[in-house]
Every structure is written in structure tokens, then in C-alpha cells.
């Protein structure tokens, strides 16, 4: 899976999403549950706004001094016997990872959930090398078993699937014989994956937060899969987006608290694991060799721009869980592994406007995302900035908007045309009008009237009415 998930044009994707009744029900239910749990967790603290302010302060300071903290991290990882590789591009990252894997003659790789490895398309590179790459996060595992179905939510990747679908996939691919009960399905995955952990040559993880001062990486899970991925194989490779770093343990602690509360409403998830270097003298579990791959892949281009604050993101998906647009169209509609408001801001920056110019418009600018963000990224403002950039600098406004503006410009520039246009409007739409409502609109109106009615133009124009009134 790369950043881009190939599922047709934006409008086709949305069309598909909107008509996927199960997905829409699942998304609405999940949003409801996660949003409520987040609010409860925040309320319990009593001073949530102060927590957010601290989160923002830490993230801003770290980004402003990112070069320093990355250097410190790298030195401290090396001091503890780890290897560090700085990858400017996805290709460089994959080349390095493949080199390490090849040097171990590794065949089987277990992996815990990581967005950045999806972004750089790492699995495909490793599979090309002849390796078997096994996702161990339950949601990711389900998607992988189902012929690499793309994730639709940053935190709950298989949200769009129901348990019957999962049962059928397990039956077909994993010789599963039991029912659609989540407990039984999870137990089956547990049995299948236990064996994989015990026999894997390399474990690959993402990184929630690296700690510069100690040269550590922090992994946040509920399942404990990252712990087995890092405890059992002889070689560990951790891949991190270069901005996922904090100065010390004390800042890590604050951000982990913000992350778990915002993502799932838990005070802490079941497993927060801080790993420093490879195993130490005499230890028998943990990796013999540890590699940290720090990935830029377009992030530095965001630094120093008006979009810099998007790099504050800690990937909690709180913005996704409150977004009314995501609720209706689902994660796949975004065409990117990063969905929802954060995806609409980040995907055009990492993947370019050619593929993602529609996303900043997939928003009502209601600002619920900005309000939910635990590190105070002004998401809806960044969406507006994207629109400005798209129209002003890139000249890539959506064609419908361009045409409408052009037509309005033409019509409004000539008083004759304007008079004519406004006069014939009621007649022109007459065939589509019932009881002053248009429910099956022509041309550009269709997208609107597919889901709601449009009021028909008044039979009398305002200017005629005013004139008439003046005469009375």
C-alpha cells in the first residue's frame, strides 16, 4: 500500500462510499462511540484545554528544533548499539530496509501497525525481495488476508468491514471453521499469529514517539502485538516519520496521554512500550540488532511553510471521528491511507495536488476537527489555505467551480445578459419544477438534487417586485 490507494476518481469513490450502507452505519457508530469516549476522557481531567496547550507547545518547540533533536536521537541510538539511517525518500528507506533484510537472509517478517511503512510502500518492496511480510495488528491482519484491502481509518483500519465479511475471508483464506463472533475470530488470529512471531526473522515497527534524550522509541498498542514483534525476532527495524520525536521522557508522557485519550478515550492503552537499543548483555529476548530508519519523504517541504503545523500531528484520528464528511463518505473516498480532515490536509502535501486537489473541498469547514485536535492543529484553516493555493497559485480550481464563475462573470458583466438570464431562469427550470421545488435538477444541479431538493427560482424577480412596489 502506498500513500495513494487506487480506487478510481474522487467522485466515483465518494459515490461508492455513499451507497455502502454497512460502511456508513459502521462509521457513524464508531464515530459516535469514539467521540463520546474522547469527550469523557477529556472531561475527567477537568483541564483539557491546558493539556492541549501543553501538547501544542511541545510539538511546536520540537518542530522548530527538529534538526537538533534528530541529531541527539541519532547519537543516543548509536551509543546504545543501534544503527540509524536517514532516508530522504521512500526509495532510500526501502533500499536500506531491503539491504538489512537481505543481509540476514530473512524470509519471514512480522510487522506491527505503522502508517509510515504504508506510506513508503515498504511491504511491496520486501515482497519483491521474496519475503513474506505479516501484519500483526488484528485490523491490519484482516485487511492483509483479504487481498490487501486498503485501511479506511488511521486507528481502526478495518472499520468498513462487518464480522460476517471477516468470517468469510477467514474461512476462505485461513481454513477457519467457526462463527462470526469477534471473540472466536480474534482467537483464530491469535493462534495463527503466535506461530508467526515465534518463527519470524525480522520484526518491523513504526514509532509513535522517539525520545531524543535517551535514544528510545515508544510504541502504543492495545493488542500487545508490537511487543511480540520486538521481543522475538533477532533483528528489529523501526521506521519513523522524522517529525515523530520528543525531547525527553517527560514530553513523551504528556503526548502519550493526549494520544490515548484522543484516539480511544483510554487513560493509557494496554501496552506502552519504550525500547532503547538492541537487547543488552545477557538478555535473551529482544533483538540482537536494532535499526532505526528516519524518513523525510516530503515532510521537510512542509517545514517553514504555512502548513508546518500539520507536522504536529500525533495520528490519534480524533479529527476523523468528528468529521461530518468522513461520516458520509468513509475512509476509502479520500483515496489515501490518510483519511478524514488530517488526510485532506496531509495527502495533498505528501502526494501533490494532481492526485488530491479534491480533498480540501471535502469539508464543510465546520471546524469540529480543529476543536478536537489534541495538539491544536488549525485543520480547517489549513484546508482553506489549500483551497487558496489550488485556485491562486496552481490554477486548479474544480472545473465546475471554474465554469460557474466564468458564466457568472460573463452574465454579471453585461446588464443585458444579466436581465435576460434572470428573466428566463424560472422558465428554463420549469420542466424540472414541482411545487416550487426542483428534485431532479439538470447539469450541475444534479449533484445537489440527487440527495436533496433545490428551491425553484421565484417567478417574479426581485428588481421587478421592487419596481412594482415603488409604483404602488
Amino acid at each position: 500500500m502506498a500513500l495513494k490507494i487506487n480506487m478510481g476518481e474522487f467522485h466515483e469513490r465518494v459515490e461508492k462510499g455513499i451507497h455502502n450502507t454497512f460502511m456508513r452505519g459502521a462509521v457513524a457508530g464508531a464515530q459516535e462511540r469514539l467521540r463520546t469516549r474522547r469527550l469523557e476522557a477529556a472531561e475527567e481531567l477537568g483541564n483539557w484545554e491546558e493539556w492541549r496547550a501543553l501538547g501544542e507547545e511541545i510539538r511546536q518547540h520540537t518542530l522548530e528544533n527538529l534538526d537538533y533533536y534528530l541529531m541527539q536521537l541519532s547519537e543516543n541510538v548509536k551509543k546504545r548499539g543501534g544503527h540509524v539511517f536517514f532516508a530522504q525518500t521512500a526509495e532510500e528507506a526501502n533500499d536500506y530496509i531491503c539491504r538489512v533484510v537481505a543481509s540476514k537472509q530473512a524470509k519471514k517478517i512480522v510487522k506491527s501497525k505503522s502508517m509510515v511503512t504504508e506510506e513508503i510502500h515498504m511491504n511491496a518492496a520486501l515482497e519483491k525481495l521474496g519475503c513474506e511480510v505479516i501484519e500483526t495488528d488484528l485490523g491490519e491482519y484482516i485487511l492483509q488476508v483479504d487481498d490487501h484491502d486498503p485501511p479506511s481509518h488511521i486507528v481502526a483500519p478495518a472499520l468498513h468491514k462487518n464480522k460476517e465479511q471477516i468470517r468469510d475471508v477467514f474461512k476462505e483464506k485461513l481454513a477457519y471453521t467457526k462463527t462470526e463472533k469477534p471473540e472466536e475470530l480474534a482467537l483464530h488470529a491469535r493462534h495463527m499469529l503466535r506461530h508467526e512471531y515465534m518463527t519470524a526473522d525480522v520484526g518491523i515497527t513504526g514509532c509513535n514517539f522517539a525520545i531524543a534524550e535517551s535514544g528510545s522509541i515508544t510504541l502504543v498498542t492495545n493488542e500487545g502485538n508490537a511487543d511480540l514483534v520486538t521481543a522475538l525476532p533477532k533483528t528489529q527495524i523501526t521506521v519513523m516519520g522524522m517529525e515523530r520525536i520528543v525531547p525527553t521522557f517527560e514530553e513523551m508522557e504528556v503526548l502519550v496521554s493526549l494520544l490515548t485519550r484522543s484516539a480511544v478515550g483510554q487513560k493509557l492503552t494496554s501496552y506502552i512500550t519504550v525500547l532503547t537499543g538492541p537487547r543488552e548483555e545477557g538478555e535473551v529476548d529482544g533483538p540482537e540488532e536494532f535499526h532505526l530508519v528516519i524518513v523525510d519523504n516530503g515532510r521537510s517541504d512542509i517545514l517553514g511553510t504555512e502548513f508546518q503545523s500539520v507536522l504536529q500531528c500525533i495520528r490519534c484520528a480524533a479529527c476523523v471521528n468528528v468529521c461530518p464528511v468522513y461520516r458520509h463518505i468513509g475512509g476509502h473516498s479520500y483515496g489515501s491511507i490518510y483519511s478524514g480532515p488530517i488526510g485532506a490536509v496531509l495527502s495533498p502535501l505528501l502526494g501533490g495536488y494532481d492526485d488530491y486537489k479534491e480533498l480540501p473541498y471535502a469539508s464543510t469547514l465546520c471546524a469540529a476537527c480543529t476543536e478536537a485536535c489534541p495538539v491544536k492543529i488549525p485543520l480547517h484553516e489549513l484546508l482553506l489555505k489549500h483551497r487558496q493555493t489550488i485556485v491562486e497559485r496552481e490554477g486548479k480550481a474544480p472545473i465546475s467551480e471554474k465554469l460557474a464563475m466564468k458564466a457568472f462573470g460573463l452574465g454579471a458583466a453585461s446588464s443585458l445578459l444579466y436581465k435576460l438570464g434572470s428573466k428566463i431562469a424560472p422558465t428554463a427550470v420549469n420542466p424540472f419544477t414541482t411545487n416550487d421545488r426542483i428534485s431532479k435538477g439538470p447539469g450541475p444541479l444534479k449533484a445537489w438534487t440527487d440527495i436533496r431538493e433545490f428551491p425553484a427560482p421565484e417567478k417574479e424577480r426581485f428588481r421587478d417586485w421592487l419596481k412594482q412596489r415603488g409604483n404602488e
Binding site: L54, D67, R190, N225, M252, K267, T273
Partner: protein, 221 residues
């Protein structure tokens, strides 16, 4: 590396920084949680939190600890058991645990055999080094005598918690770890059993790690 960092610095419109003062943050809400609570009050909070994380909490005294552990072991179907090679077991009068036939004591000289024992084990037992009242979390500073897998591979995980190890929240643990100097290769913050909500948002307890978790609090130590 130089080019990578140079690029970041130039995007930020300056030269590469070789020293940065860690600021004093304007906000510090984390210190207000359970501020001024006594150990008893913290224990109460821990108990409350355990009801929310699918974790059984048992209270006992140092004198009755052996019986309490035996009860917990029996309640979870007995051995095989894997424990750390930790001097605290002896300090707390738990040497009898080591002589049970179904107990594997972690011995780093045995290498991978320890991991196999943990994989076969029904129950894994460790002490908690620091315990977080707010979240119901036990903190394990692992080392060669306490393998990482003791708390992950067995079906049930049991943590022994001296009351004196309870602090308000992760804030205090982070500071302690920072001040200790050498950071262990693996620190676990464990909050109840393994779980997942990846299938239709239904909570399933026990996915890759333990299916059950029990905390035994020693109230007089």
C-alpha cells in the same frame, strides 16, 4: 545525515542547531492529577481504575502474600508458571514459588529455553517497579533476569504491587526513569490484559498478549 539535517535547518531558515535549551513549558496540567493524595487514596484510585480495565485486583499483606498468590494461581488453572529471577521474591518470602515443580525461573544462561518456557506457561508473574494509580498501569523495568516475554506470552499475567510503588500517574514514572540514568532496553507500561476493538468496534479481551490480568497489592509494604 548532515545533508538530511541541513535540509531541515534551511527549510526553517537558519543554520543547523548544535544545542537547544529544553524550555520550561508554560503549562503543566499533568502535575495536578491526584496532587497531595496519600498512598491509601492512591490505592483507592487504582482499585477504581481496575474495574474499568478488565483487571482483578487482590489486596493482601506481606504476611499473607504466599497464600494470596497460591489462590490466584489456582483460580487461573495452575501452572506452568514463569517468573523473573528477582531478589524481591525472596525479600517478600516467596522462595517457595521457586521450588514448585511447575515454575520456570528466568535464567539468562539458558538462552532461548526461557522464551519457550514463557510460551508454554499459563501464568507469568513479575513485580511492578512503579504503579500508576490514574490509569491502573504497572511499569516493568526489564533486564536480563526479567525477560520481556514473561508478561506477554503466558495466558494470564499477574503483577505483584507493593503499595509503596503507587504514584499518581505516568508523570512521576517518567521523571523517575529519567533521573535513574541508565534506561533499560525495554520498559513496559502495562494496563490490564491485551485487547482489540478492530472487529466492528466490539471489545475483545485477549488478542496477542495475556487474556487475563490480575494485580496483587501488598498493602503494608
Amino acid at each position: 545525515m548532515e545533508a538530511f539535517l541541513q535540509r531541515i535547518a534551511s527549510r526553517l531558515g537558519r543554520d543547523v542547531r548544535t544545542s537547544v535549551e529544553r524550555p520550561k513549558w508554560k503549562h503543566a496540567p499533568q502535575h495536578t492529577v491526584f496532587q497531595g493524595y496519600s498512598q491509601d487514596e492512591l490505592l483507592d484510585e487504582l482499585k477504581k481504575q481496575c474495574t474499568r480495565i478488565h483487571t482483578t485486583l487482590v489486596e493482601t499483606t506481606a504476611g499473607r502474600l504466599v497464600d494470596a498468590i497460591d489462590d490466584v494461581i489456582a483460580a487461573h488453572g495452575g501452572g506452568p508458571i514463569v517468573v523473573a529471577n528477582d531478589e524481591r521474591y525472596e525479600q517478600f518470602g516467596l522462595s517457595s514459588l521457586f521450588t514448585r515443580e511447575d515454575v520456570h525461573v528466568w535464567d539468562h544462561t539458558l538462552g532461548r529455553a526461557n522464551i519457550e518456557a514463557a510460551e508454554r506457561a499459563n501464568i507469568g508473574i513479575t513485580f511492578s517497579d512503579i504503579t500508576l494509580a490514574e490509569s491502573g498501569t504497572v511499569v516493568l523495568l526489564n533486564n536480563r533476569d526479567q525477560g520481556r516475554t514473561i508478561s506477554f506470552l503466558p495466558k494470564t499475567y499477574v503483577a505483584i504491587i507493593p503499595r509503596s510503588t503507587i504514584v499518581p500517574r505516568m508523570t512521576q514514572a517518567a521523571r523517575t526513569i529519567r533521573e535513574r540514568g541508565h534506561v533499560p532496553s525495554c520498559i513496559n507500561f502495562i494496563t490490564g490484559p491485551s485487547n482489540s476493538a478492530d472487529i466492528e468496534m466490539n471489545l475483545v479481551v485477549g488478542v496477542h498478549g495475556p487474556v487475563k490480568a490480575t494485580y496483587i497489592v501488598i498493602t503494608d509494604r
